[in-house]
C-alpha cells in the first residue's frame, strides 16, 4: 500500500452534550478512493469538516504527510491540499462559473479572465468535466453546480478531495458520469473520500471502506472483500435483513382524481403543467423526479396550500365515484371542515409540519386546536395522543413538553408521521419521508406506510431514493420540470428507465 496522505488520531468533536465523533483514528492513503460509510448522524460529515477546517477538533491530532498539522480554517486545509465539496453547495448564485472559481483567492492579483478560462479548460480536459465558464450559477442544474464545486477544489490545488453525499441529488446517469470523473482523478494520483450511506455505490467505486457508527470508528475493510450484508452489519452493529414489503392491492377504490393541474409561481413561470392522475385506495403511489421539479407544489396544491390555475381540478371521492368533492380553491381548513381526511407529511418538518419550539403535546393539537366552542385550548386529548405516539413509535424525548426541535431527526419524523396517521386518513401524502433518517427509522416509516396501505389508505410517496421507490411503490409518476413524464408500474420498471424519464426532455430542450 502506498504512503498515507492524511492520518487522523483520536479525533473527537462534541456539540454540547452530543458527541459527534468519539476518538476516531483513521489513515487515508495517497491515490485511493475511500468511502466513508455510516448512517445519518454517525458523524461522517463532522469528521470531514474537521479535515477541511470548518470545525476545530476538541481532541486529537491530524497528520499530513506524517507531520502534525493544525487546521483552523478552510484556508489552512487548502494549504495542505485538502478540499471539500459540501452537500449544500457554497457558490455565489449571480456569479459565473469562472468567477466562482477564483472567489477568495489572492485578491492582489489582477483579474485575468482569459488565463482563468484557460486553466479551467485544462482541468476539464484532464478529468472529463463539461462546463461553460461563463454560465451563471443560477442557470445551472444541480449536477452542473456540483461539477463546478469539484473543479473549484481542484483549481485550488486540492490533492485530497472530500465529497459529501455527492450522489444524493443526482440521477442514475449523472452518477455514472461523476464516478467516471472520480476514477480519472484517481488515475491522476488524487485521493478521493466519498461520504455516503448507499451501499451499492460504495461497492462500485471505492477501494476501501471506513465505517463509522454513532460517532465512533468501527473499522476499515477493502471493498473487494466486502459485500452488502457485511457492510450493513458493520454499519448497524447487528445483523439485519432489509426488505421492504409490497403487499398486493386489495379492494381498489378511486380516492383522488387530479386533472390538468397547473400551478404558476409569482413570476408566472410554470411550476406544474397539466398533471393528471388517479389515486386509488390501498396503493402507494410514488412520485419521482429531480428535486425541485414540482413535487412540493403538487402536494401543496392537493393540501390547499398552493393556488392552481383555473381549469385545474382535484376531485376527492369519499365512498363512491358519484360523490366527488372539488379541492381546488379551498383553504386547508375548509378542506378539513368538509370531512376530507387528508394527511400530509411535508418535506420541511420543523418549518411546516411541526412547531419546533413546542413540545409533542402542543404539536399534536396543531391541526385541531380550534375544535370545541371554548375560547381556551384543551390539552387533555393531545396530551394523551402524544403519550400514545411516544410509546407506540418509541419516540426518544426527555418529555412531552420538550421542544421537538431538540429531538433527533428520526424522532422528529416519528412525531410528525405519528400525528398524521393518527388522524385516520383516507389519503396520506408524504414528501421525502425518510430523508436524513437512520436505517432503522426509515424501515419503521416504510412499515407504517404499508400498514396504512393494508388499511386501505391511498398513499402518495414523494421520494428521492429510486431503489427504495422501486421496492415500495405500486405505481410511480415521474416528474420532469413540472411535467408528467409518465406513470409507470413500480413492479416492472428499472432504475435506469426512470432516470432517463427524469431528465429526458430536458436534454431535448438543450439540443434546440
Amino acid at each position: 500500500m502506498s504512503s498515507t496522505a492524511l492520518s487522523i488520531k483520536n479525533l473527537s468533536k462534541y456539540f454540547g452534550s452530543v458527541c459527534a465523533n468519539d476518538h476516531v483514528s483513521l489513515d487515508i492513503y495517497k491515490g485511493e478512493i475511500l468511502a466513508l460509510l455510516g448512517e445519518n448522524g454517525s458523524g461522517k460529515t463532522s469528521l470531514m469538516n474537521m479535515l477541511s477546517g470548518i470545525y476545530f477538533p476538541d481532541e486529537g491530532q491530524i497528520f499530513a504527510d506524517g507531520k502534525e498539522v493544525c487546521i483552523r480554517s478552510p484556508k489552512d486545509a487548502y494549504a495542505l491540499g485538502i478540499g471539500m465539496v459540501h452537500q449544500h453547495f457554497k457558490l455565489v448564485d449571480v456569479f459565473s462559473a469562472s468567477e466562482n472559481l477564483i472567489l477568495g483567492i489572492d485578491p492582489s492579483k489582477p483579474l485575468d479572465r482569459k488565463k482563468i478560462n484557460q486553466e479551467l479548460k485544462t482541468i476539464c480536459d484532464r478529468y472529463g468535466f463539461e462546463i461553460d465558464p461563463d454560465k451563471k450559477v443560477y442557470d445551472m442544474s444541480v449536477s452542473e453546480k456540483q461539477t463546478l464545486e469539484i473543479i473549484k477544489t481542484l483549481y485550488r490545488g486540492a490533492n485530497v478531495l472530500i465529497l459529501d453525499e455527492p450522489t444524493a441529488v443526482l440521477t442514475p446517469q449523472e452518477t455514472e458520469r461523476l464516478f467516471s470523473v472520480i476514477k480519472n482523478m484517481k488515475k491522476d494520483g488524487k485521493t478521493v473520500i466519498i461520504i455516503t450511506h448507499k451501499l451499492h455505490e460504495v461497492l462500485e467505486i471505492s477501494d476501501r471502506v471506513a465505517i463509522l457508527r454513532k460517532g465512533a470508528y468501527v473499522g476499515c475493510i477493502e471493498t473487494a472483500k466486502a459485500d452488502e450484508s457485511k457492510l450493513t452489519e458493520m454499519m448497524m452493529g447487528e445483523k439485519v435483513t432489509l426488505n421492504i414489503e409490497r403487499p398486493e392491492i386489495k379492494d381498489k377504490k378511486l380516492r383522488l382524481s387530479v386533472k390538468d393541474l397547473c400551478c404558476k409561481d409569482a413570476e408566472g413561470r410554470d411550476h406544474l403543467k397539466n398533471i393528471s392522475f388517479d389515486l386509488y385506495s390501498g396503493e402507494i403511489f410514488g412520485i419521482a423526479g429531480i428535486s425541485g421539479c414540482g413535487q412540493k407544489e403538487l402536494l401543496e396544491a392537493i393540501a390547499g396550500l398552493q393556488p392552481a390555475v383555473s381549469g385545474s381540478s382535484i376531485k376527492y371521492f369519499r365512498d363512491s365515484e358519484d360523490e366527488a368533492t372539488e379541492l381546488i380553491g379551498k383553504t386547508p381548513r375548509a378542506i378539513r371542515n368538509m370531512g376530507v381526511h387528508l394527511s400530509f407529511v411535508p418535506e420541511d418538518r420543523l418549518g411546516m409540519g411541526l412547531v419546533g419550539s413546542m413540545g409533542m403535546t402542543d404539536n399534536m393539537m396543531l391541526k385541531d386546536y380550534d375544535s370545541g366552542k371554548l375560547f381556551f385550548t384543551n390539552r387533555r386529548k393531545p396530551g394523551e395522543l402524544a403519550a400514545r405516539i411516544k410509546k407506540e413509535l418509541d419516540v426518544v424525548t426527555p418529555g412531552l413538553q420538550t421542544p421537538v426541535r431538540r429531538l433527533s431527526g428520526g424522532n422528529v419524523q416519528k412525531v410528525l408521521v405519528g400525528r398524521e396517521i393518527s388522524a385516520d386518513p383516507t389519503v396520506l401524502m408524504t414528501a421525502y419521508a425518510v430523508r436524513g433518517l437512520d436505517i432503522n427509522t426509515s424501515y419503521t416509516i416504510y412499515k407504517l406506510l404499508n400498514e396504512q396501505k393494508k388499511k386501505g389508505t391511498a398513499i402518495i410517496f414523494v421520494g428521492e431514493d429510486l431503489d427504495v421507490m422501486l421496492e415500495l411503490c405500486d405505481r410511480i409518476l415521474v416528474l420532469n420540470a413540472g411535467k408528467c413524464a409518465g406513470i409507470t408500474d413500480g413492479r416492472k420498471i428499472t432504475k435506469e428507465e426512470i432516470g432517463l424519464m427524469m431528465t429526458g426532455s430536458e436534454r431535448k430542450q438543450d439540443e434546440h
Binding site: 456539540f15 454540547g16 476545530f56 493544525c70 420541511d348 418549518g351 412547531v355 413546542m358 391541526k367 385550548t377
Partner: protein
C-alpha cells in the same frame, strides 16, 4: 510522550454551544452578571466622581426607594414600562416587530388629553371608561395600518411602525400647539388641575393604585391569553413559522391583524395611563422612549408576564437611582443612561454564557 496533544497553534479561544443548562444554574448566571455589572458601574462612577462604590449604591437605592414619594414614582414608572411591554409581547411573540409603541402611546395620550379638555364636565365614572376605550381604539388604529399592509402586501413592519412614530410625534406637536396653556408657553400644562377631571382617583389613599391595578390585570390577562387560549396558540405558531400556520389551516393575515389590534390597544391604554395616571399633561415626550425600552423588557422576559414585571422594576429602579447619582454627584443625565446601558449589556451578555461556553487553549504540558 509522543501522543501528547500539541496545541500551540490552536486558536486561543473557541466558542462551544451548550444546551440544557438547568434552570437554577441559569438564574445564578444571570444574578452573577447583574452583580458584576453593578461592580463595574461602581468602579466607573468611582473613577469619575471619587465616591466609593458602596455609597454610590446607597445613593441609588435612596433615589429609588428613599421615601414614600420616590418609591411610588419608581413603582409608577415600573407599571408604565410593564404595561407597554405587555402590549408588545403578543406582537413580538408573533415575530411582528412592533417598533411603533411610541406612536401608539402618543395617540392614546392625545385622545385622553382631548377627552380631559373637552369633556371635563363629565362625571368620572363615565369619563374614565370612555377615555380607556377611546385611547385603546386610537392605539389599535395606529397599529392596524402597518398590520394590514404587512398582511396584504408583506411590507416591512419594522420600518412601517417606526415611521408611524414620527407621524404620531408630529400630531402631538400639533395638538400641543392647539391646546397651548398658557398661551405662548408651547406646553399644555397640567390639565384640569382644579377639578381633576379625567385624573385617576386616589384609591385607599393611594394616588397610583389604579396604575398598579390596571397593569396587574393586563399582566394576568396576557399570561392566560398567550398560554391557554386558542388565540395564544395561533400567535406562537405564526411566530414560529408562517408556513406551519398555513399548513395547520390558520388564517395568517387575520391572526396578524387581530394581534396587532390587541398590541396597539394596550399601548394606547398605556398612553391613557401616562396622561391620566401620571403626568396629567401631554407633550411629545409623553412616551419618552419607553416604547423602545419596553421592547428590551419584553424580549428579556421572553414574554412572560411575571418576568416582565421584574425586569420593569429593575429598569425603573436603575432609572430613578441613576438620576439621583447624576444629580448628587453633579453629573448630567447621560451618566445615568450610561449606567443603565452597562447593566442591560451585561444582562444580554449573560444569555450568551447560558447558551455557549468558551474553551481556552490548553496550556502546554511541561517537558515537550
Amino acid at each position: 510522550m509522543s501522543t501528547e496533544i500539541k496545541t500551540e497553534k490552536a486558536p486561543f479561544v473557541r466558542v462551544v454551544k451548550q444546551e440544557g443548562m438547568p434552570f437554577s444554574k441559569r438564574v445564578v448566571v444571570r444574578i452573577c452578571f447583574v452583580l458584576i455589572a453593578l461592580v463595574v458601574c461602581g468602579f466607573l462612577i468611582n473613577a469619575i466622581t471619587s465616591y466609593d462604590p458602596v455609597s454610590v449604591y446607597t445613593i441609588m437605592f435612596e433615589g429609588a426607594f428613599g421615601n414614600a414619594r420616590r418609591t411610588w414614582a419608581t413603582v409608577r414608572e415600573m407599571m408604565m414600562l410593564a404595561l407597554i411591554a405587555i402590549g408588545l409581547a403578543p406582537a413580538f411573540k408573533m415575530k411582528f416587530w412592533n417598533i411603533g409603541a411610541e406612536g401608539q402611546i402618543l395617540i392614546g395620550g392625545i385622545i385622553s388629553a382631548g377627552c380631559m379638555i373637552y369633556l371635563s364636565a363629565c362625571p368620572a365614572h363615565v369619563l374614565l371608561p370612555l377615555m380607556f376605550v377611546l385611547s385603546a381604539a386610537g392605539g389599535a388604529a395606529w397599529a392596524l395600518l402597518p398590520a394590514i399592509f404587512k398582511a396584504r402586501f408583506n411590507t416591512n413592519e419594522t420600518l412601517f411602525t417606526l415611521m408611524m412614530n414620527y407621524v404620531a410625534i408630529q400630531l402631538t406637536s400639533f395638538f400641543v400647539a392647539h391646546w397651548e396653556n398658557p398661551k405662548g408657553s408651547n406646553t399644555v400644562g397640567i390639565i384640569n388641575s382644579a377639578n381633576q377631571a379625567g385624573w385617576f382617583p386616589e384609591v385607599f389613599g393611594q394616588k397610583y393604585f389604579i396604575n398598579v391595578a390596571l397593569t396587574l390585570v393586563f399582566a394576568i390577562f396576557m399570561f392566560i391569553y398567550l398560554r391557554y387560549t386558542k388565540h395564544g396558540f395561533e400567535i406562537s405558531v405564526v411566530g414560529n413559522s408562517e408556513n406551519t400556520a398555513r399548513y395547520a389551516g390558520m388564517n395568517v393575515s387575520r391572526i396578524m391583524i387581530r394581534t396587532m389590534l390587541l398590541s396597539g390597544a394596550i399601548c394606547g391604554i398605556a398612553g391613557f395611563m401616562a396622561v391620566s395616571g401620571a403626568s396629567h399633561t401631554i407633550s411629545t415626550s409623553t412616551a419618552g422612549g419607553r416604547g423602545f425600552t419596553a421592547i428590551i423588557v419584553a424580549w428579556l422576559a421572553k414574554f412572560d408576564s411575571a418576568t416582565m414585571l421584574l425586569i420593569s422594576l429593575l429598569i425603573a429602579f436603575l432609572n430613578s437611582g441613576a438620576t439621583e447619582i447624576a444629580s448628587k454627584c453633579k453629573l448630567n443625565d447621560y451618566a445615568s443612561d450610561m449606567i443603565i446601558g452597562i447593566i442591560l449589556f451585561f444582562i444580554l451578555a449573560s444569555e450568551f454564557f447560558i447558551n455557549y461556553r468558551l474553551v481556552f487553549r490548553k496550556k502546554e504540558k511541561g517537558g515537550v
